[in-house]
Amino acid sequence: MKLRKILSALLFVPFVFASCENYDEDERLKLIEGGETTDSTPITKEQSELTLLLEEFTAWNCPNCPQGTAVLNTIKDTYGENVVITAIHQGSLAKPKGEMTLDLRTAYGEELGKEIKSWPTLWINRDVFPSGRGEWETALADYFATATHYLNISLGSKIDANGNVVVSTEIEALEDISSNLVITLYMTENDIEGKQNDNSNIIDYSFQHVLRDNPIVNYPLTMGALTQGTKLQKSYLLKPAAGVNKSNCHVVVMVADATSGKVLQANEIELK
């Protein structure tokens, strides 16, 4: 009887001891390709309005995802330059299989969406996560109605002699911002031909706004308060992932609150 009591009380010991993780020295750090650069290029795309980042988690083998994309196309028609769309191919349904041999997943996208359990899913400014695609338009309208326009991100881009992408940014604070800020840059690619499960039919498909690898993530932009009217000018070097067709690419740039991760403003520029 005593032994049974002790054993029953100790049953959950293994669960607790399994809850610990350490990394060996060679696992701890991942070199970031690119980063801030002294090279620069003229600003060609100026910004003056609030622009939101819409990140859609999608997958080729997700039968409802083309419907999500259709909603996003409607949104783009309505809001134009005031929204930046990224399609993040992520999760088990994005894994190549059968006719679909193209792998559109990225390490960054997998990390970003590791807790996502259903597709398509939309993130608005990494702040609001409307539950179903039927609510995306309403949620976006509500967000626009209440969001603060904290800053503008004006951009310029070029491809350097080594085939790398140089992005010059000018961040202008429109409000006093007390939080530390970080900047994230990544490339998206249009017109990638592949297969898509559309309502259980596998069809030929042209993927748009597809997130590509080698982003610059949460790079420190400010430490301490940023006062209204301040302009920050910085340039960054992005190393395009293998297989990317640069002539079909945009660079998406977002500035976020370093603590909450909430995106304050986004912009994108076509690579030329």
């Binding site: 002790i6 029953s8 607790v16 809850s19 993780e21 350490n22 990394y23 750090l29 970031i32 790079y219």
Partner: protein, 562 residues
């Protein structure tokens, strides 16, 4: 219709409770409110209080019926009194719980406080004077399957001011503790004078990893942050007749966080205490070593909140205000220290002992940094690396705190008691956030006497004198003298006058921080009112500290219990 349904459900619930004998219990509780009015005073640095009136209050209501108990605590900070974090502003019930015992199991749901061993890997507690409350919200199980064996299991999240913790990404805390008392477990050992208790704990915090980028040698790297951080500790308590020994060793897995500058080095802590005590004489020795042991349930948190563990201070905690002017704050990133206490009672009838005997206490404590050496090719404590190497037994060069103090407590006559204290302190200003300044070296003297006029009336006088050469302005203003007179009358009233005089200040006015206080205690109800100036400073309790800003005005405390 809805109201009727609720009423019927309530009646059924009450009948059900009554059937189990739960309604035949008792209710107890306590209440306290602190109220403050402070006006602007540029001389002492007291800031204007826009609200004019500030208050902190709480009330605990507990219900107990046999093996069942439940309760809640109401708190209000309207608005928080000076020195308390503004995030406390508001009112509500942050603490509610229910618990029952059945067979060998005790189950607690809701909020709870708990500690494993000395707290090196887990301590959930409240320290109201510090504005610290890391109450758990979740589930706690305590099992005593056989006599001498206690198992504890906890899971939950920690309180963070008024945040809806289940809506935040703050970490989830899980833990297990086992303690075996060999004297209780083995029947033949029960009457032995040698007693041994051993225990072990394991605690793990899950917090979603964020992206952390660090520059190392002109390159940028993305750090892989462990989402599950574990810590384990082993302890023993041994005693044989007058001798006692207790020790606890804790080790924490990789936990890059803002406090340790995002290094991967594993943490460790060792606490050893030995004591010997016979009638009229006691000696105790303590040693402690801490290395990278900040353990919070949110890796970006820097304040006193969300501490998962507790690292006790091994310096004497003083009640006299000038003795506590330069208090020691635990350095969670690394410290090693010792403390020795000797207590001796000089016998009655001797020359020094006099008619009633004399108590003498000698205390010495010293805390240094730990030895640290940079990893080859990196700066010391470089983010994204192991941080440093350290020789376990070698202290660092930096002295954080040292004190030697002597206290003599003597009853001079039937009605007169005297207390004499002297303390020599060396204080490293790193604790006040001024590592650039040289150490403060202070000598403090206290004479405290209480004369009992009759059974219900007494008077008390106190002189405190602090001497130091250091004069850095805001927080170190050279010499101080404090005089206090207190009259306790009618068995329940007191009135006191005190003046803390910064007569040695060389950077500003030689301010008199006068204070008048009046109060009464009637059964369990206590009311105290004070008016005067309060200097800015730091209070530390158990090595955990809070800044106290200057104030000038009225302070009222009312407390009661039932």
């Amino acid at each position: 219709m809805k109201r009727i349904a609720i009423l019927i459900a309530s009646v059924c619930f009450c009948v059900s409770l009554n059937a189990q004998g739960i309604l035949g219990g008792s209710v107890s509780g306590n209440f306290q409110i602190d109220m403050q009015m402070s006006r602007e005073d540029s001389v002492i640095g007291a800031e204007k209080v826009n609200e004019r009136f500030l208050s902190n209050a709480f009330a605990n209501i507990n219900y107990n019926a046999g093996d069942f108990s439940a309760g809640f605590r109401f708190e209000s900070y309207l608005n928080p009194i000076l020195g308390f974090d503004k995030q406390y502003k508001g009112a509500g019930i942050p603490y509610r719980w229910a618990s029952y015992k059945k067979d060998y199991l005790e189950v607690t749901v809701g909020n709870y406080y708990e500690q494993f061993g000395n707290g090196l890997v887990f301590r959930s507690y409240e320290e109201r004077n510090l504005g610290l409350d890391n109450a758990m919200d979740g589930l706690k199980l305590v099992a005593k399957p056989v006599s001498g064996l206690t198992l504890k299991g906890i899971i939950g999240k920690q309180r963070y001011y008024w945040e809806e913790i289940w809506q935040t990404d703050n970490g989830l805390v899980r833990g297990l503790d086992a303690e075996v008392s060999l004297n209780e477990l083995i029947p033949s050992f029960r009457e032995k004078q040698t007693r041994l208790t051993v225990g072990g704990s394991f605690v793990s915090v899950y917090e979603k990893a964020e992206t952390k980028i660090v520059p190392i040698n002109e390159n940028l790297y993305e750090m892989k942050i462990p989402e599950n951080v574990g810590a384990a500790a082993f302890r023993l308590d041994f005693s044989h007749k007058a001798f006692g020994l207790s020790a606890e060793y804790a080790r924490k897995g990789q936990d890059p966080n803002i406090v340790n500058n995002y290094i991967y080095r594993e943490g460790e802590a060792l606490l050893v205490k030995a004591n010997y005590s016979i009638k009229g004489f006691a000696v105790s020795l303590e040693a402690k070593r801490i290395d990278n042991m900040s353990f919070k349930s949110k890796r970006s948190e820097t304040g006193n909140m969300l501490n998962v563990n507790y690292l006790p201070a091994i310096t004497r905690q003083h009640a006299y205000s000038l003795m506590a002017m330069y208090p020691y704050a635990t350095q969670v990133n690394g410290e090693m220290g010792i403390q020795a206490d000797v207590m001796y009672k000089i016998k009655k009838g001797t020359w020094l002992g006099g008619k009633y005997g004399t108590d003498v206490k000698l205390n010495y404590s010293r805390v240094n940094s730990i030895h640290q050496e940079a990893i080859e090719g990196y700066e010391l404590n470089q983010s994204g690396t192991e941080g440093y190497t350290s020789n376990f037994f070698k202290p660092g060069d930096e002295l954080y705190f040292q004190e030697i103090n002597l206290e003599v407590n003597k009853k001079m006559t039937k009605d007169l008691k005297m207390n004499f204290m002297y303390s020599h302190q060396i204080f490293n200003p790193i604790a006040f956030g001024h590592p650039e300044e040289e150490d403060v070296i202070a000598d403090i003297f206290v004479v405290d006497g209480t004369y009992k006029i009759n059974r219900k009336n007494s008077i008390r006088g106190e002189v405190q004198w602090l001497l130091t050469e250091q004069n850095y302005g805001e927080w170190a203003k050279r010499d101080w003298l404090q005089l206090t007179a207190e009259y306790n009358f009618a068995g329940k009233w007191f009135v006191a006058l005190s003046d803390q005089w910064n007569y040695g200040n060389q950077n500003g006015e030689k301010v008199h921080y006068y204070n008048v206080s009046l109060g009464s205690t009637y059964n369990t109800t206590r009311v105290a009112l004070s008016y005067g100036k309060q200097r800015d400073g730091i209070i530390c309790i158990g090595g955990v500290c809070r800044e106290v800003p200057a104030s000038n005005g009225l302070f009222v405390t009312i407390s009661s219990s039932f």
